[in-house]
């Protein structure tokens, strides 16, 4: 009985010490120098767009205008009608992913349309990103989706319509975090 009591006493001490130590290494030991970030601060740095359309900007575009823009700003690297040149092909490859010559393009591979818009808007043209308007970026996105046969000709692309676009490879991805699925393991 005495031994059990002292064991319990020790256990409580260990528990107490564990809690105390865990609390000590917590973030509370920093000087906490972060300053409040305003909506404007956040808008300045936050460009990601989500598959459901969160953070898409106002504006809209049509493929016909996108084609004209593409032929000025994109064609030099991405080739005629996005067939690829020094930069990757943006069109084609649908149905090729399970073959011995897979072609990964935004049409054959990308699962969500809004994130394609985000990348074009924030990263292109490569040598002058963010140099076009939101309308322009929607228009280029519309052109690329039409080239891939994903949108009907004349479709208006904007924050409302883009999240509703069903990409052909929407279900083509398998989560490998935290573990690669057994099917693909050795």
């Amino acid at each position: 009985m005495k031994t059990e009591e002292s064991l319990m006493y020790m256990r409580n001490w260990i528990l107490f010490l564990t809690i105390a130590l865990t609390t000590c290494v917590d973030g509370a030991d920093t000087p906490e120098l972060g300053q409040p970030a305003s909506e404007a601060d956040i808008e300045q740095v936050f460009w990601s767009v989500f598959p459901d359309g969160e953070n898409l900007p106002a504006g809209s575009g049509l493929a016909v205008d996108g084609k004209a823009l593409f032929n000025i700003y994109c064609i030099a690297c991405h080739g005629i009608e996005g067939a690829g040149l020094t930069a990757v092909a943006l069109v084609g490859g649908q149905g090729s992913l399970a073959t011995d010559t897979p072609l990964k393009t935004i049409g054959s591979y990308r699962p969500y349309a809004p994130t394609i818009f985000k990348y074009i808007r924030r990263s292109m043209p490569y040598i002058a990103p963010m140099s076009l308007s939101n309308d322009d970026y929607y228009a280029v996105t519309a052109y690329l989706l039409e080239l891939n046969g994903i949108l009907e000709p004349g479709s208006v692309v904007n924050a409302e319509t883009l999240p509703k676009v069903r990409m052909p490879n929407r279900d083509g991805f398998v989560n490998a975090y935290p573990k690669v699925p057994r099917k693909y393991d050795y």
Binding site: D41, F46, W47, S48, A87, L97, R110, S123
Partner: protein
């Protein structure tokens, strides 16, 4: 005592009107310039025939040191046209660590690998801000300067691009040097600030399960990071090997996710958005996803798998002598923790022997292994196979390809083979 004038008068002419021996300047320069005229330069100097650097003081120290003039070790830079963004335009580029010429586990900062999808921004730290926002109680912003007042987190970790060894998915081995096959791997001591501490300061809300990290490069490279990782061991790196991050490593600050594929450790970090779901960014859909034989693609293969490679001998050298004992040495690493064991084979994997691990063996860091090998002059195939502390064993090339096909492009980590021929020549082979 001889004066300078006396010495000058003493110089024997070789022709009229004061012409002197053509070797005089060499001798006097070798003895330290004109001032050494005070020394009896012509009287059989004991330095005659000695190596030149013994005969004159060397240069003074440099304000920032550089390697010997005789060392050509440098990073391999990708040729134009290799990049999806089209690196015929300046910027999009990668630099590979030359492991064939390095020994140790810490990579010199200037030889650390780099991938820059949109070039290296020239960031003024005084105009750079990190903002934490989204599902937090208090959206906060931090300047570079304020982060220096936080307690320092310092850890030694390898970094590997999941595209490291991508050429090894090819059908033919190609006689790739180590920089080509394994150069998107480096090791450093990184210092900075705990990400969990900054997230706690902002107050992450219960529904916050992911963080979207964005960089301040011209492409705003973005990745989604699971909150459990961010709260576990991620940090904001400010220093590499004791000095401020270099621009190619994310100056003035980068995210660092130990053991995760390098692209997730977003450089030039300026935005951390706490959300309840991943953003499915370009670099976690179009790139860094592994296409499987059935047409599906593995996504968020974030944790790097166990891997090793022999760095010496390699195809950068020829074995100079038969029937001699050589050291086989290389690197092993795993995104899951410490390396438990490395085995070496000299017969293409038929038999294995456990190598010595150079201590200390640190978690998620390059671990060097060594094993003596007596080469009798017959052809051999040298391989290494790593096991990490979780028990995960590096697969053979056949095992990896059987499971994942050959179009994965990323995350190649199979056993690597050096073929040694009877002349001591070494080639990269598949075995």
């Amino acid at each position: 005592m001889m004066t300078k004038q006396d010495q000058l008068d003493d110089l024997p002419p070789v022709a009229a009107n004061g012409l002197l021996d053509r070797r005089l300047f060499m001798k006097s320069l070798a003895l330290g310039g004109v001032g050494t005229l005070a020394a009896p330069v012509l009287a059989n100097p004991v330095g005659e025939g000695q190596l030149p650097w013994l005969l004159a003081p060397g240069q003074g120290a440099q304000s920032y040191g550089s390697p010997s003039n005789y060392e050509q070790l440098a990073r391999r830079i990708d040729p134009p046209g290799l990049w999806p963004e089209g690196n015929t335009i300046a910027g999009s580029s990668s630099a590979y660590t030359p492991h064939q010429g390095l020994t140790g586990t810490y990579t010199p900062s200037g030889l650390h690998f780099e991938i820059n999808h949109h070039g290296i921004p020239d960031i003024d730290p005084d105009r750079h801000t990190l903002v934490i926002h989204g599902m937090v109680d208090r959206p906060l912003k931090f300047t570079t300067e304020t982060l220096d007042f936080y307690p320092t987190v310092t850890r030694s970790h390898f970094m590997e691009c999941s595209g490291n060894s991508w050429l090894l998915w090819e059908d033919e081995p190609g006689d790739l040097l180590l920089d080509e096959s394994h150069g998107l791997l480096s090791g450093s001591e990184w210092s900075g600030v705990s990400l969990a501490a900054l997230l706690d300061e902002a107050g992450v809300q219960a529904e916050g399960k992911w963080i979207i990290a964005e960089g301040a490069d011209s492409g705003t490279l973005s990745r989604s990071i699971p909150m459990e990782k961010a709260m576990d061991d991620s940090f904001i790196a400010l220093y590499q090997n004791g000095e401020r991050l270099r621009p190619g490593q994310g100056y003035p600050m980068r995210l660092y996710n130990p053991g995760f594929e390098g692209n997730t450790s977003v450089k030039w970090l300026r935005s951390l958005r706490v959300t309840d779901r991943p953003a499915m960014t370009k670099f976690e859909t179009a790139n860094y996803t592994d296409l499987m034989p059935d047409g599906k693609a593995l996504q968020f293969s974030l944790k790097l798998e166990v891997k090793s490679v022999i760095t010496r001998p390699s195809n950068a050298t020829v074995l100079p002598k038969k029937n001699a004992v050589y050291e086989v040495t290389g690197l092993a690493w795993s995104g899951s923790g410490r390396i438990r064991k490395v085995e070496v084979s000299a017969d293409g994997g038929a038999t294995w022997a456990e190598a010595e691990l150079q201590g200390p063996v640190l978690p998620i860091m390059l671990t060097r292994f060594r094993l003596p090998w007596r080469w009798d002059g017959s052809p051999a195939i040298l391989q290494s196979r790593a096991t990490d502390e979780t028990g995960r064993v590096q697969p053979t090339r056949t095992q990896l390809l059987d499971a994942r096909g050959k179009h994965g492009h990323y995350h190649y980590h199979a056993i690597h083979s050096w073929g040694v021929d009877a002349n001591g020549g070494i080639a990269h082979v598949y075995a």
